[in-house]
C-alpha cells in the first residue's frame, strides 16, 4: 500500500509541476528602436546631394511627363522622409526631402509608413533604378506597362527598396519634417515659373485658414462610388479665396471621415498636375481647425 501511495504521489507531483510550468513561454521584447532609431546616424558614402540629382535629371522631368533614364552607376544621396502612405491617401510612395528639395520615391509596396515613418533618415542609391518624370515631377522608380499598353514610371520592386532606400536613423525634429508655410500669393507666383514648379513639387507645405469642400458637395473626404479611374476624387481646398484641387483617395482610411466645416490649418504634400498645384493630405490629423 505504501508503495502504491508512493507511486501515486510521485507521478501526481511530477505532473503537477509539469502542468503548471508547461504553458509558460517567455519571448523577450526586442528593443528595436534602440538600434535603428535611437540616434540619427550621419550619412556616409554619399556621392551627391538631392539638389544635385534634381538638377542633373531636370531634362528628363520638365520636358516630358513620361520620360526617364536608367541610372547605371552609384548615385548616392541622403534625405528625410516628409510624407508617406500612412493613411493610404498617398499610394506606394514616400516623399524624401533634403533642405528645400524633395522627390517622389516610388516603391511597389503598401504600408511603407511602417518602414519609413516621417523623420526617417534614408540613404538612396539610384544604381539600377530609373529617374524621370511623374506628371512633370521627379520620381525614382521603375517603368511598367499599363493594362492599356502604355509605359509609365512606377515604383521600384519592394524588395529592391530594402537596399536602395536604406534607413540609417530617425530624427523627427529634422527641419525636413517641418512644412513650408505657403499662401495663395506664394502659390500663384511660383506656378508661373517652370523652374520654381520643378523646385517645389513635391514639397511638404502648410496653409492657414483654408476651407475644404468635398467632391460634389459631399460632407466626407471621398465616397467610393464617386471615385475616378485612379481611385480618387477631387475635393476643393480654398486658400485665401483661391481654389485648388485637394486630391483624395477613395481608398484612404479616412475617406469616410467628415470634413471639418469652417477654416482649417492644413499640412499637405504639394504636387503639380499639369501646370497647376495640387494638394494631398498625408492623414486626417493634418487638418485641424484654424485658431
Amino acid at each position: 500500500m505504501k508503495k502504491n501511495i508512493f507511486y501515486v504521489l510521485s507521478v501526481v507531483a511530477g505532473l503537477t509541476f509539469t502542468l503548471t510550468s508547461c504553458n509558460k513561454f517567455d519571448y523577450s521584447e526586442p528593443d528595436m528602436l534602440h538600434d535603428v532609431y535611437n540616434s540619427d546616424t550621419e550619412a556616409t558614402g554619399t556621392t551627391t546631394t538631392l539638389a544635385q540629382v534634381k538638377e542633373d535629371y531636370r531634362v528628363f522631368v520638365t520636358e516630358n511627363q513620361h520620360r526617364w533614364q536608367k541610372v547605371e552607376e552609384d548615385v548616392i544621396f541622403d534625405g528625410y522622409v516628409c510624407a508617406n502612405d500612412i493613411s493610404g491617401n498617398l499610394y506606394q510612395a514616400i516623399y524624401v526631402r533634403k533642405g528645400d528639395d524633395a522627390i517622389v520615391v516610388g516603391i511597389n509596396d503598401n504600408s511603407l509608413w511602417t518602414t519609413y515613418p516621417v523623420g526617417t533618415h534614408v540613404v538612396i542609391n539610384l544604381k539600377d533604378l530609373y529617374v524621370g518624370s511623374y506628371g512633370y515631377m521627379m520620381k525614382i522608380g521603375m517603368p511598367y506597362t499599363t493594362s492599356g499598353g502604355n509605359a509609365r514610371l512606377g515604383g521600384m520592386p519592394k524588395f529592391k527598396a530594402k537596399d536602395a532606400v536604406k534607413v540609417i536613423g530617425q530624427d523627427e525634429t529634422a527641419p525636413e519634417t517641418v512644412p513650408v508655410e505657403v499662401n495663395s500669393q506664394w502659390l500663384e507666383a511660383k506656378k508661373k515659373d517652370t523652374n520654381e514648379m520643378h523646385q517645389w513639387s513635391p514639397m511638404l507645405v502648410s496653409v492657414k485658414n483654408a476651407t475644404i469642400k468635398g467632391y460634389n458637395g459631399r460632407a466626407v473626404y471621398a465616397v467610393y462610388e464617386d471615385r475616378d479611374a485612379g481611385n480618387g476624387v477631387n475635393d476643393v481646398i480654398t486658400v485665401d479665396g483661391k481654389n485648388y484641387t485637394l486630391r483624395q483617395s477613395a481608398l484612404a482610411s479616412f475617406s469616410a471621415d467628415t470634413i471639418p466645416t469652417g477654416p482649417v490649418d492644413v499640412i499637405a504634400v504639394l504636387t503639380r498636375y499639369g501646370n497647376d498645384w495640387q494638394f494631398s493630405l498625408r492623414e486626417a490629423k493634418d487638418v485641424i481647425p484654424a485658431e
Binding site: Y7, V12, Y27, S28, G88, S255
Partner: protein, 879 residues
C-alpha cells in the same frame, strides 16, 4: 477450418486488458499500439479508432490502422458521422460534430487503450451508432491490469520524446485504482517552427460494491501547447526549396516564435454506474463533465499595415506578371517585369529570414507607434472556442434468451460553447482600440458601424482583455434509442431506431455596430425533432460464408457551427434550416476458406439537405464574408475488400482496398453575408432574377482518397514481430472553393448558335461558366471550375517489435515504426482552393469591366505534403 461464428447473444463487452501481455497476436498489438494511439500527425479524430477492436469487421480493423496518414475515412464520410463514446456516453463535440481525440487522450495511451470498435448496424450494448461507425473507450479503473509500466518514446514527428508511467492496483477488496500520466515534449517538431509541450494525467478509481453494483470515477487533464504548421502554395514551397516550408514562424530576438500556437486543456470527469441486475440484465449509466479550453493565436493588424504573413500573395513573384499565361504561350514579361520578378525570387531565396514572419519588424513598428502616443499596429490575438458540457448516457441491456436481446438507451447533452477572442500579446504596444478595421474603412473611424462593442465604444484593449466578438452557443440534445436483436438458426436481425430533439441558441455578449439590434442577447432557440431507423439482416450460409444486408434512414439536426449566418456578429439563423436526411445501405459478404479469409462490401449513401459554411475575405467586396450553402445533396458509394492469407501461425499476408465515389449530386443554394457591413444576407442573383446557386454538382468530397489500397505482410517468431505495408492512394481531390463556383462569380455566357442551330459556348476549365438562355433568367447549362485531383501516392511503412520476458514476471517490449521509408516527399494529400477570384471589376464611366489579376489564385491553391520518412521508437517496461 470453420472460423465464422454464428452470432451468439452474450454480454461480451469485455475490453482488452491493456497491461495483460497475451500471446502472439495480442502481444503484437501490445507491442505496436503506442505508436498509433498517440500519433498526432494525422487529423486528431482519425487516430481515435486506430486501436479500436473491430473483431467482426476485417476491413475496418485494418483500414483505420493503415490509412490514417492519408486522411481516408471509411465510405469517405466526414468525421462528424462517427460516434465516439467513453464508457458508453457520446463525446462528440456537439458544435462541430467531431471528436478531437488527441485533445482528450493525447499522451494517455494506456487510458485509451481499452477501445471497442462500433459498427453501424451490428448490435452493441453501448449506444446508438452513427452511420460512420465509431469506437468506445472504457476508462474504468478495474480494466487496467495490476502492475506498473514505464514507457519511453523517441520520434521525429510532432514531438521528440515522451515519458509515461502507469500504475494500476487491479481489484483489491472491491477497489481498483489506476493512474497514468506522462509528458510529451519537442522543442521543435519535424516541421520547422513547430513545437509541442504537453503533460497528461489520468486518475481512475472504481468501487465494486458487490456483484450487482460498481461505481467508477475517472479524471483526465492534459494541458497542451502546440505550435502548428501551415499549408501554402507550390510557388512558396519552390522558393523555400522545401515541401515542408512553414510560414507560421519567425525570429524574435534570435529565438524562433510561432504565430499559430494552439492551446488545449480539457479537464474531464467520467462517473459511471454499472448495475448488473442479473446475468442477462444490465444498466450502465455514465455522466461526463467536461470543460474544454481551446485557443489558437493569430497575428492581426490595424488599418493600412502590411500583411505580416510571408507567403501573402502580394509577396510572391508570380504577383508581378501572369507567369502561368506566359508559360502557356501568352505574353512574355518585359524586361522591367522580369527584373522585378527576379528581385522577388532573389529576396525569397537569399535567406531564411526573408521568408519567415518578421517579429522584430512588428515590434519596431509598434514601438514607433508608442513613441508617438499611438496604439498597437500589430498584435497577437487568441481565438477561443471553449465548452462546458455535460453528457449523460444510460443504457439498458437485456438478453431474454439465446435468440432475443433488447437495448434501450437515453442520451442527454447540455453544452455551453463560449466563443470570443482575447489579446494575447500587444507586441510592445500598450493598447489596441476595439474597432473593426474593415468597417472603419467603409463607414469611417468615428462611425457606429466601426464599433465591435457599442456598449463600450473605442474600448482600449490590453493584454488578456476580450474584444472583437463574444458570444455563447447553447445546445441541448436528448435522444432515446433502442435496438432489438433476434437470432434464429442461420439468420440474425438487428433493428435499431432513435428519436432525438435538439435546441440551438446564440447568446450574444457584445452589441456590434454592424447589427446593434440583433447582436446582443439571445436569439431564441431553434428546435429540431429528428430520428432514424436501421436494420441489418444477417444470413450465415455455413461456417465459411456469411452475408449481411443493411439499410437505414436518418434525420439529423444541423450542427450549430453551420446554423448561423454570421455567428460572430449576429443572431440570425441560416434561412430554412432543417434536418439533414441520410439514406444508407450496404451488403457485406464475409468468408473463410482454409487459410484464406476476407470480406467484401458494397455501400451506397445519399445525404440531402446538408448545410456547409465557409468564412473568407471577399477581395472584390473587400469584406469578410460568410458563404453558406444549403440544400446540399451528396452521394457516396463504392466497394471495400479485405483479404488475409495465413501461411502458418507465423506468417500472413493481407490486402485491403477501397474504391468508391463521394460527390455533390446537385447545385447548392447559396447565401452570402458580409461580416463588416450592415447589408442583409443575400441569397438572390439580382442579375438573373433567380436564387443564388453554387455550381457544386459533380464536385468531389475533398481531401479523402477515393481509392485506397494496402498490401501487407506480417511475420513473427520467438516474440519478434515484423510487418511491412505498402499503401497506395489515388483520386484524392482538393477542397473546392464554393465562392469561385457562385453563379454570380462564375463567367456568365450568353447563348450562341452554330451553323446547325445548336447552342454552343466555350468555357475555360480553370474558371467554368454558366450558360443562360436569351432571357438571361434561366440556366441552360453550366461547367463547374475544374477541381484539382492530387497525383496518386505510394508509401511504404515498416514495423519491427520485440517482446522480452524478464524474471519475476517483468516484461519489456520494444518497437520501431518506420513510416514512408522511401522518403517520398512529393505526396500531396491535402489542399484547398482559395476563395479568391483571379479577376476584379473596374468601374469607369459608369460601366463595369472585368480585368485579370496578375496573381492567379486558381493556379495557387494551398496544399500540404505528406511527412517525409519518420520513425517512432517505443520501449515499454512492465514491473
Amino acid at each position: 477450418m470453420p472460423f465464422l461464428s454464428v452470432p451468439v447473444l452474450s454480454m461480451a463487452q469485455t475490453p482488452t486488458d491493456s497491461l495483460a501481455g497475451k500471446e502472439n497476436e495480442d502481444l503484437e498489438s501490445f507491442v505496436f499500439s503506442d505508436y498509433e494511439i498517440d500519433d498526432e500527425s494525422t487529423t486528431s479524430s482519425q487516430t481515435a479508432t486506430s486501436l479500436a477492436n473491430y473483431n467482426d469487421d476485417a476491413f475496418l480493423s485494418k483500414t483505420n490502422f493503415r490509412f490514417g496518414h492519408s486522411y481516408y475515412s471509411p465510405h469517405n464520410y466526414d468525421q462528424m458521422y462517427r460516434s465516439n463514446t467513453i464508457n458508453g456516453a457520446n463525446v462528440n463535440d456537439v458544435e462541430s460534430g467531431v471528436f478531437r481525440f488527441s485533445s482528450l487522450f493525447g499522451g494517455l495511451s494506456d487510458a485509451s487503450r481499452n477501445q471497442q470498435g462500433l459498427t453501424v448496424y451490428e448490435q452493441n450494448a453501448l449506444n446508438y451508432v452513427d452511420i460512420g461507425g465509431g469506437s468506445d473507450v472504457n476508462v474504468r479503473a478495474s480494466q487496467f491490469a495490476a502492475g506498473n509500466k514505464a514507457t519511453l518514446s523517441l520520434t521525429n514527428r510532432n514531438y521528440i520524446g515522451r515519458v509515461m508511467f502507469t500504475h494500476a492496483t487491479g481489484i483489491r477488496n472491491g477497489w481498483a485504482f489506476a493512474l497514468t500520466g506522462g509528458v510529451r515534449y519537442g522543442e521543435e517538431g519535424n516541421m520547422k517552427g513547430t513545437y509541442m509541450k504537453s503533460a497528461s494525467l489520468f486518475l481512475g478509481a472504481e468501487r465494486i460494491f458487490n456483484k450487482h453494483h460498481s461505481l467508477s470515477l475517472s479524471l483526465i487533464a492534459q494541458p497542451t501547447d502546440q505550435a502548428t504548421s501551415s499549408w501554402t502554395t507550390e510557388e512558396a514551397y519552390w522558393l523555400a526549396n522545401s515541401h515542408y516550408y512553414n510560414p507560421f514562424w519567425g525570429w524574435q530576438n534570435g529565438k524562433k516564435r510561432s504565430s499559430r500556437v494552439r492551446k488545449t486543456f480539457e479537464p474531464t470527469a467520467f462517473l459511471t454506474w454499472d448495475w448488473t441486475l442479473d446475468d442477462n440484465t444490465k444498466l450502465t449509466t455514465t455522466n461526463i463533465f467536461r470543460y474544454a479550453k481551446y485557443g489558437q493565436t493569430y497575428i492581426n493588424r490595424t488599418n493600412n499595415a502590411a500583411d505580416p504573413r510571408p507567403d501573402y500573395y502580394h509577396y510572391m513573384p508570380s504577383s508581378i506578371f501572369d507567369i502561368y499565361g506566359a508559360m502557356n504561350g501568352g505574353t512574355a514579361p518585359n524586361d522591367w517585369e522580369y527584373y522585378e520578378w527576379q528581385n522577388y525570387v532573389d529576396y525569397w531565396q537569399a535567406s531564411e529570414h526573408n521568408r519567415q514572419i518578421d517579429w522584430d519588424k512588428m515590434y519596431m513598428i509598434n514601438q514607433n507607434s508608442v513613441k508617438d502616443g499611438g496604439e498597437a499596429v500589430y498584435f497577437l490575438e487568441e481565438s477561443h472556442n471553449d465548452q462546458l458540457a455535460w453528457n449523460f448516457a444510460s443504457t439498458f441491456d437485456k438478453i431474454f434468451n439465446a435468440r432475443n436481446r433488447l437495448n434501450v438507451g437515453l442520451n442527454l447533452n447540455h453544452t455551453t460553447a463560449m466563443h470570443y477572442k482575447t489579446m494575447a500579446d500587444l507586441l510592445g504596444a500598450n493598447f489596441h482600440t476595439d474597432i473593426d478595421r474593415f468597417a472603419s474603412s467603409d463607414y469611417g473611424m468615428n462611425s457606429a458601424e466601426a464599433q465591435n462593442d457599442l456598449d463600450n465604444p473605442n474600448k482600449q484593449i490590453r493584454k488578456n482583455d476580450k474584444f472583437g466578438y463574444n458570444y455563447n452557443i447553447l445546445i441541448n440534445k436528448a435522444q432515446i434509442w433502442s435496438s432489438y436483436t433476434y437470432t434464429y438458426d442461420n439468420l440474425s436481425l438487428v433493428f435499431s431506431g432513435n428519436v432525438n430533439g435538439t435546441t440551438i441558441e446564440r447568446d450574444g455578449k457584445m452589441r456590434s455596430g454592424r447589427s446593434p439590434e440583433h447582436s446582443k442577447g439571445r436569439s431564441g432557440a431553434a428546435k429540431f425533432l429528428s430520428g432514424g431507423m436501421k436494420a441489418q439482416l444477417g444470413y450465415t450460409v455455413n461456417a465459411h460464408h456469411r452475408f449481411h444486408f443493411s439499410a437505414g434512414y436518418e434525420m439529423r439536426p444541423p450542427i450549430s457551427n453551420h446554423a448561423f449566418l454570421d455567428p460572430q456578429i449576429k443572431n440570425d439563423y441560416v434561412p430554412d434550416l432543417t434536418n439533414e436526411q441520410v439514406f444508407h445501405a450496404d451488403i457485406t459478404y464475409k468468408f473463410g476458406v482454409g487459410k484464406f479469409n476476407g470480406q467484401l462490401r458494397g455501400y451506397f449513401t445519399q445525404f440531402s439537405n446538408q448545410v456547409e459554411q465557409t468564412q473568407f475575405f471577399d477581395d472584390i467586396e473587400e469584406k469578410y464574408s460568410y458563404l453558406t450553402m444549403t440544400g446540399i445533396q451528396k452521394r457516396h458509394y463504392g466497394g471495400e475488400l479485405a483479404l488475409e492469407y495465413r501461411f502458418n501461425s507465423n506468417l500472413s499476408a493481407d490486402f485491403v482496398g477501397a474504391y468508391g465515389d463521394a460527390y455533390y449530386a446537385n447545385n447548392a443554394n447559396a447565401i452570402i453575408i458580409y461580416d463588416n457591413a450592415t447589408t442583409p444576407a443575400n441569397g438572390w442573383d439580382q442579375t438573373h432574377k433567380m436564387p443564388l446557386k453554387v455550381i457544386t454538382k459533380d464536385m468531389k468530397v475533398g481531401c479523402t482518397p477515393l481509392t485506397a489500397l494496402s498490401l501487407g505482410v506480417k511475420y513473427n517468431i520467438s516474440n519478434w514481430f515484423f510487418e511491412a505495408r505498402g499503401n497506395y492512394y489515388d483520386r484524392s481531390y482538393i477542397y473546392f472553393s464554393p465562392y469561385l463556383r457562385l453563379t454570380d462569380v462564375m463567367p456568365n455566357v450568353n447563348m450562341t448558335y452554330n451553323q446547325m442551330g445548336e447552342p454552343q459556348w466555350d468555357v475555360n476549365p480553370m474558371r467554368g461558366g454558366v450558360l443562360y438562355d436569351e432571357t438571361g433568367q434561366n440556366i441552360v447549362d453550366y461547367v463547374a471550375k475544374k477541381q484539382q485531383k492530387f497525383d496518386d501516392a505510394f508509401m511504404v511503412d515498416l514495423s519491427i517489435g520485440k517482446f522480452i520476458r524478464l524474471n519475476k514476471g517483468r516484461t519489456m517490449s520494444i518497437n520501431l515504426n518506420l513510416t514512408n521509408i522511401t522518403n517520398n516527399t512529393n505526396m500531396v494529400l491535402r489542399g484547398r482552393e482559395e476563395n479568391r477570384s483571379d479577376y476584379f471589376d473596374v468601374e469607369k464611366y459608369q460601366k463595369t469591366t472585368q480585368k485579370v489579376k496578375q496573381y492567379k489564385f486558381g493556379y495557387n491553391p494551398k496544399i500540404a505534403y505528406a511527412y517525409p520518412f519518420n520513425a517512432f521508437l517505443n520501449v515499454n517496461y512492465k514491473f
